[in-house]
Symmetry: D2
Subunit: 136 residues, 4 copies
């Protein structure tokens, strides 16, 4: 069981989510933030770094947005649905843009981009699943 | 002249903003992130901390959202207006909610909340001014 | 297999770590950052929040230090061992202090603190294991 | 008067620093974090980005370390000198390494690196000044 889920299951208050779904989203956000940070670094190590500038920039933004959203969702005390919704929407935009670009580079043979594209896609889906809930 | 403005004025590419206005927003975001981090800490030092839980929680979210938005706006290479807009909208929500709560506590005599409310309000206005531009 | 490990295994350059050990540390840092963010929030939801101020403050610092260290270790291009070492040492200090306090509260019945204490301890051990390597 | 100083002057507890010196360090850390984030982005916009990989990587680390240290120093409740000292030492390492590299590129004509080098040097000096105090 993940720490995100264990922390939700020991939370002393109530929250308007299914704990398993919320924990899965928090984990997907952390995975995506980590993969994007590492992908930006891997792109910097590529001989053709000059062709990867847009990818690096998207990676950096996506990492920051996902990390901040993971933190905000980890806070359930005095929860503000309107802010969570705005952050999840920003995450979906960042993950879709970064995931599409990384998927393209992955098809060209860059394996780290292929892995990162998968993390971005899974994160976008987890954020969209939360956005579909009335509680956000 | 602020470092934010000096960095924009030495940026080697083009960007779709008035440099002074963009720099002012980046500075307002940094000021707000710092004030919110410090206000959460000051609330923890108050004897009536139990009455300030909602304020602390809003401070923490607002600090994270403003810091991430300041970073994203500091990146003009391969700029994505759609993501910047989503982040600025999240900032306005966070700054308005946090600023209103801090203003209320400020009126009750908590001076750190009064200072933080001012930083939140100025940040919300700077974000709204950028959102009014077509380039975001 | 974790994303941290998959990203290391597709990294296009060399790095001076055992990939599995480095990935385990990055994951432990992320787990600890998440648990500390959630524990600070859970403490804010406790009726006796006034007795938990030191715990909240340690949680906030520990979350920030672990998140930054996870990012720095996720970057292997132009790696600077001296900086990695300084950050890992800061992490050990933060995780030991936060873990000890949370373990104390866990013994008093606060389950979220008990879970967080475990995440802190595991993170401190993972950081110490990396520090024992010559490559850091 | 900066927000950092105004927040310290309205802090409800005691702290073991000269407020003006601590506020100056917090501001220098924010300036450095912003300049490094912007410098990494400006380097990505340079035609010779392939020659700037080490600079970009140092910029990213320095931005993260300075942002985290600014947050930790902005928290004076239940202050832990040992952790503050470890973070300040990590900052000095990051700022000196990044500042030296940026200064070198600045001499070669890259103006954004010259501005960033100045922010790094000022931040290193502010951190060293705090480290010289017994209260850290």
């Amino acid at each position: 069981m993940s720490y995100a889920l264990r922390m939700l299951e020991t939370y002393p208050g109530d929250f308007g989510f299914d704990a398993a779904q919320l924990a899965a989203a928090i984990e997907a956000l952390h995975d995506c933030a980590q993969a994007c940070t590492a992908c930006a670094d891997a792109c910097l190590a590529e001989p053709q770094v000059a062709d990867l500038v847009a990818c690096i920039r998207l990676n950096l933004d996506c990492a920051d947005v996902c990390a901040t959203t993971a933190r905000a969702l980890s806070r359930q005390t005095e929860y503000k649905p309107e802010l969570a919704r705005a952050l999840l929407e920003a995450c979906v935009i960042a993950c879709r843009a970064c995931g599409d670009m990384c998927a393209h580079h992955g098809e060209m043979g860059m394996e780290h981009c292929a892995v990162c594209a998968e993390a971005c896609r899974r994160c976008a889906e987890a954020c969209e699943a939360l956005l579909a809930k009335a509680s956000v």
